[in-house]
Amino acid sequence: MERFRILHNDYEHGGDAAAAIKSILKELGISQDKIRRLSIANFEAEMNVIMYAEEAEMELQVLADAVRIVLTDRGQGIPDIDLAMTPGYSTATPAMRERGFGAGLGLPNIKKNVDLFEIASAVGVGTTLRYSIFLNDRPRTGEA
């Protein structure tokens, strides 16, 4: 189990956790497609923390049949999760858009890339994402 800390506004390091996890999974010999899907989800999730939360911990768990990420942030939370999951919906600022983000595709794209996805949020407290990539050929369920 590895943990990575992510801080608000730390654009300079946005992508470092995703890259570190990618290296670990490569060493474990996990297939390229699975690594790609998880890495895209991790980078999106990491940028979400940098843009919207105060701080977060991204935890990598390599299980026998899955790779699981638990991302717990402290921050403003998401008042309406269904709305946040709607492709194109965004509360991004110009600074975020300048860096090529804020298109309202982040959370939907995380869900699209993983095999199991769960989100819970409390306004004023923070948001927790749990998502997994299955290592065997178990069918994708979409929901945890």
Partner: protein
């Protein structure tokens, strides 16, 4: 074609990755300034064509398994971006041509769109 041939075709300056260019074959491209689009819709192995020279362009290319980055409109990335590209072994090219012209020239040369969904 490989990246060396593509660099010649578009009068590119090689920002980083001279030694990788022959080994990197390019069949498809994905053009966007929005990294969200790159992460959501690009296909692995595509060449990223973009005007966004931030660190995030290299991270996006890395996590999405893209073959390299071509910056358009004469834009050049900062030293820090180049450092990350070196670390990730992602070649960086830059050309004076506009995004529109780059895409037109590459399509004419037989490359295809590297997008899915």
């Amino acid at each position: 074609m490989n990246l060396r041939e593509l660099a010649t075709l578009l009068d590119c300056e090689v920002v980083w990755g001279h030694d990788l260019l022959e080994r990197k074959a390019v069949k498809t491209c994905f053009a966007a300034d929005l990294m969200s689009d790159v992460l959501a819709f690009s296909e692995p192995g595509a060449l990223l064509i973009t005007g966004l020279v931030s660190l995030q362009s290299v991270h996006a290319a890395d996590v999405a398994d893209l073959t390299g980055i071509l910056y358009v409109g004469g834009k050049k990335p900062a030293e820090q971006v180049l450092g990350l590209a070196r670390q990730r072994a992602i070649p960086l090219l830059t050309t004076q041509h506009s995004m529109f012209d780059v895409c037109a020239i590459l399509r004419e040369a037989g490359l295809k769109a590297g997008c899915k969904d």
